[in-house]
Symmetry: D3
Amino acid sequence: MFFQDPKLQYEVTVEQPDPHFAKLLQQAIGGQEGEMRVALQYMFQAWALPEEYEAYRNLLMETAAEELGHIEMLATAVTKNLRDSPKEMGDDAQETAAAASMTGQNPRQFLSAGESAVPVDSNGAPFTGNYIVASGNLAGDLYANVMSEAAGRTLATRLWEYTDDPGMKDMLSYLIARDTMYQNQWLEALESLDDPVPVPASFPQDEENQEVNYTFISTRREEQPNPDHPWTEGEAPDGKGQFSYAADQPGDGNVVAPDPDPMTSDDPNRTDQ
Amino acid sequence: MFFQDPKLQYEVTVEQPDPHFAKLLQQAIGGQEGEMRVALQYMFQAWALPEEYEAYRNLLMETAAEELGHIEMLATAVTKNLRDSPKEMGDDAQETAAAASMTGQNPRQFLSAGESAVPVDSNGAPFTGNYIVASGNLAGDLYANVMSEAAGRTLATRLWEYTDDPGMKDMLSYLIARDTMYQNQWLEALESLDDPVPVPASFPQDEENQEVNYTFISTRREEQPNPDHPWTEGEAPDGKGQFSYAADQPGDGNVVAPDPDPMTSDDPNRTDQ
Amino acid sequence: MFFQDPKLQYEVTVEQPDPHFAKLLQQAIGGQEGEMRVALQYMFQAWALPEEYEAYRNLLMETAAEELGHIEMLATAVTKNLRDSPKEMGDDAQETAAAASMTGQNPRQFLSAGESAVPVDSNGAPFTGNYIVASGNLAGDLYANVMSEAAGRTLATRLWEYTDDPGMKDMLSYLIARDTMYQNQWLEALESLDDPVPVPASFPQDEENQEVNYTFISTRREEQPNPDHPWTEGEAPDGKGQFSYAADQPGDGNVVAPDPDPMTSDDPNRTDQ
Amino acid sequence: MFFQDPKLQYEVTVEQPDPHFAKLLQQAIGGQEGEMRVALQYMFQAWALPEEYEAYRNLLMETAAEELGHIEMLATAVTKNLRDSPKEMGDDAQETAAAASMTGQNPRQFLSAGESAVPVDSNGAPFTGNYIVASGNLAGDLYANVMSEAAGRTLATRLWEYTDDPGMKDMLSYLIARDTMYQNQWLEALESLDDPVPVPASFPQDEENQEVNYTFISTRREEQPNPDHPWTEGEAPDGKGQFSYAADQPGDGNVVAPDPDPMTSDDPNRTDQ
Amino acid sequence: MFFQDPKLQYEVTVEQPDPHFAKLLQQAIGGQEGEMRVALQYMFQAWALPEEYEAYRNLLMETAAEELGHIEMLATAVTKNLRDSPKEMGDDAQETAAAASMTGQNPRQFLSAGESAVPVDSNGAPFTGNYIVASGNLAGDLYANVMSEAAGRTLATRLWEYTDDPGMKDMLSYLIARDTMYQNQWLEALESLDDPVPVPASFPQDEENQEVNYTFISTRREEQPNPDHPWTEGEAPDGKGQFSYAADQPGDGNVVAPDPDPMTSDDPNRTDQ
Amino acid sequence: MFFQDPKLQYEVTVEQPDPHFAKLLQQAIGGQEGEMRVALQYMFQAWALPEEYEAYRNLLMETAAEELGHIEMLATAVTKNLRDSPKEMGDDAQETAAAASMTGQNPRQFLSAGESAVPVDSNGAPFTGNYIVASGNLAGDLYANVMSEAAGRTLATRLWEYTDDPGMKDMLSYLIARDTMYQNQWLEALESLDDPVPVPASFPQDEENQEVNYTFISTRREEQPNPDHPWTEGEAPDGKGQFSYAADQPGDGNVVAPDPDPMTSDDPNRTDQ
């Protein structure tokens, strides 16, 4: 159950409004690394957890609600960058020029949304549920969350580089800090799990093929000697096997599809029903 | 540059062909956790890496080529499950019944592909580039790869549970083993990086907001005392901060959008141009 | 800014768990008429409203937060229908049969999510930002909201027809009631606006073509006399014009594209650069 | 059954071709508010209507055919803006500059379509069937149509603001007028229905939860007194209930997923099959 | 400009309504091989053609309008298969069973559309503008049209196999015949073009690399002798070159990305701004 | 089974790096006409072919592997155009200007990928499995391949026009030549098939409607005399019929949907259950 308050989680100011930056901010709203993705991802993950994982479910929901507030901050940043920029639009003498300028921006922010945020990424592609990872396996989900926050923080630091506006830098500095926290909290949660690797831990490992489960198989055209990388020799990180090296793929079995049903195929010899 | 050989990486047999299982296998071909995603993801990651990361680029390309061969194995498994199942189709007396049965399967395998694999997931949704994570940041990408293989192995073990066919169980046992290797190799590669957390390591951490970068901020409606979870106190996994706990969000700034350009807004008071 | 509480907005019980019904419920989660759509739609609409529309912004955010809780209720309904249904899975002797059964359900609920809800619709297609309407024009948005809740209530009543489970019927009875309220509140909000039709009210109506702004233009191949429908004669609902009838389209101007740039076209006469 | 004639419904001229405006016009072709959406939407709605609704089916098909002609007008406007603009392309000395300019436009209009219209929106995202609302419920569909034409007219007026070209302004003035007519005709059609609210009217309203069907439930974190808005007190627009106000959500039932099937879950305690 | 008439192009009858077949028919409506695709494809192609190609533009528009009528026929076939099938729904005693049955069908036909057609394919994935090919190059477009009608006819023959219903067989026999005509008309139009291969004919062929424009380059891991296939020796079909065979790829240049901008990369050595 | 080598198939150089051209190149990577599409398309086609089509399966796989190498070349071209362009980014004094410039480019190349290629098209829309045609019918697939390479070569020649960079022109000259070869090889393969038109050849042609299988049916509003085009008279290209002309559509049967199930419809007369 959710509640809301008409305040931002953290203040958003823009001193030099820049409609171009409003386009870039869309990546953090509706993009692969954006806040819509993580807010919804944490919810779906939480709703799949049974009673014994209550602490983790709470952790996920606590964070999900915060991420919703981050979408709100970013949407506010978009409207401030677009609407407080008087020169971009509406000047009769420059309407065509404004149109030209706008095309390099995000046209739907203007045409579909009246100078406000839209649920798309910085390229203009719509947000999609395909971004959301919620597997019902807690360890796998926590790795997905570390990854999501790594991607989110990388994005936020890049946005921070692309603006000189003190207000935007301050907002991004806040969001970058939160992503530092999130990466750490998901890693800590992973550490609190007993023996999570390889995911899923519940699968009986003796049922997997024992010939290739710790073997680096090279796909180089010309066979190469073992390059002695950390991933071709020595103990594997899961502590359950030793890395080995194979210079060639096993290669077994022909790539031959069975004959299709003659009635639905294009067999030229077929003459009637 | 790529090469190919008309052999499978590992033999694929089906003893009791099952068109229903052919539908489930699509998740491992064109799904969020599937082989198309990882094959392409590793390529795009590799192509972004500069010279100093040659060992990692090679690692990524070695694995990408192997994953292409896994798509091939799974596509072969699909055709064998579909085409060697004589009873499902083509019997004049049962055509309508066959149609009924087919709708519970993946209709496009029949209608669009003549009983073979299609680039979609088990729900029938098309493969999309949205699944691919390739950020130009090696540490972030390696976390994405651990996550992808965790998801892939979880999927493969679930498929293993849903079949009794010895051939399918054998193929999946091979793929599960490879995912064990992959999880380990990406974790090993992460360990070989110097100080990857928080990602991106290149961002000067003193530029991030120092008030909230290790603080668990609760979003519970009613303020709660510190629950003393590993992620609300103690040292953070990155070794660069101490977790703390805040019972409430900072809450600052109003959620008020600026006035839009009057010419593009719906201001009821506007009467003319 | 958002808050949460680990209770459902309204209790969700399932007496006769039905994995098939869990598939149908996905439409109300991630579908065109679903709760993800309205929750996000109301947020994006609210974030575009300037200060003078504070009452409407609050109205939108009040409702958005409630809709988030409805996704939660539906996701809970999905897990209860899937997981409390012991016969469907895991029985060694019936694994293949279970697979067959599962394909008629939503495979990703099992394969991608471990028997829980996924951000897709009842056909398995992913949720998309394309569903969200937030135009920056309040009247237009309120019509979109009436429509969304009409679609949502229609869906909920259909789901109510397709189940006999008392728990599911009770949950749906609650959601149907809320959609009654929502339809009424959005209509009431529309009535509170001054002169909203035609949307957008801010456009000077004398700038629109005065020949065809209240004319029903027939596209019937054979010209027909005025059928004397309410939309071909009499006063228009906006009170600003009289309906008239034209038996044929104006038809003016040729459909001829200009010549393309010869360098990028396929002009067979081009012989060199 | 459809027919066509090689004339435009209304003449399209461009005096000052502007490739940037060609990009913006895409929103009216393949966008959420575009003509492809309404043309197809009205068809699908019509095809679902049984005999007794013949007048409405005709109304829908009359309009659908006209909308097809509007796509044609807009596609013509795109080619005229692109191809009659000699400076943008093909000048050997400025090819790189042209490429730079083009990227701010819609690259696929050039690269995929040889300077003509493409079935995408102004951001370049492809048209999708997800936009189409055709519910089989006439009242709900008519609200969807009012909304679609409100969105379409809002878009057209924004495009009108972004161009100074007399030809484009004239074409848009025509389309804006048609959208005025369409909004009025769909509202008139709604009025001709008996008692359409709440949609669907066919559902027996005493089956919905009687506690909350006219209650405004606040989701504010801190309970607030009744704000005495038109949607928190007084008679509801459907004439079937009185608005009331609840300062808090009912809140009932725990968010606890049942235990998943142990074979498909990640239960760390599981040690074998 | 388009017109319509409230008759079907060809009568549609269903003797044994089958909701399962209604799902399969969706592929011919909203699928990759479907009628929505070709109707829109032919329009966009026509709208890009300049005056000298008037005969081809007319050909395309003549066919586009007919294809719209085919969507109508198929949508009618869907409603007849769904609604004249009394046993599937609404029987109080079998509601849960009906739900079970429905999940193997297309749930959105019921839930979103009240037992009518939806703009999706047989897997339930939405129609997308991505299917549409309209390149501004007539020869390329005609090949796309041959291909589209080949795919469409293949689909229609497969649907013909999956039904025993005389009405459905008759409708499909009509559509298959039309696809025979279409394939022939597009091939005839191709033949009427002067020298269309290789497409685009306008490109000066001496500007393409002359070493590899008629060479079959093998990618086999182990070099193979020339297999003497028709595509490795002899005259090429365009009459402009002789096929040759290369046993290995040229292989030149390293796959090394330049160093990224240090401010946006993850360079571990970067310590400050 | 696939192999790789850390060399490019053909060298890629860029003399005057241009981030705008990097955006255009995306069309050849992740677009409708791009290399991801053909590489995957040829694989899926090959995997569907039974033993008797071994020569064609090999042909498809030989080419698929080469296309993978073309994605690699294009991704390398993207990074070189982006990263060797020092002025675009990182200059503190011009950060806002850089952001402005970047918005006209492909923001995700910067924000999501650290100045490298992304799996999207030139408009920024993600690659999708919807592009892939693999029908299980060899003749249909070969037409799809001719079309795909025609589209690909058209795109490559357009890119060639939009750049002055000698390195880019050289790379594109190579790719254009390969597309010449591909078009020829697929046409040659089509010619090697016995009687492929109309596709699918396996369908007994006497089962199709004999009235309309070689008739051009005009959809012009006003009936026109036979225009005596090559597609309205004379022998059809398949040699199996004579073209004829019909000035009007047959027109038969009403567009009337049956009554829907009263429980799921919006019948205003329904008053109870």
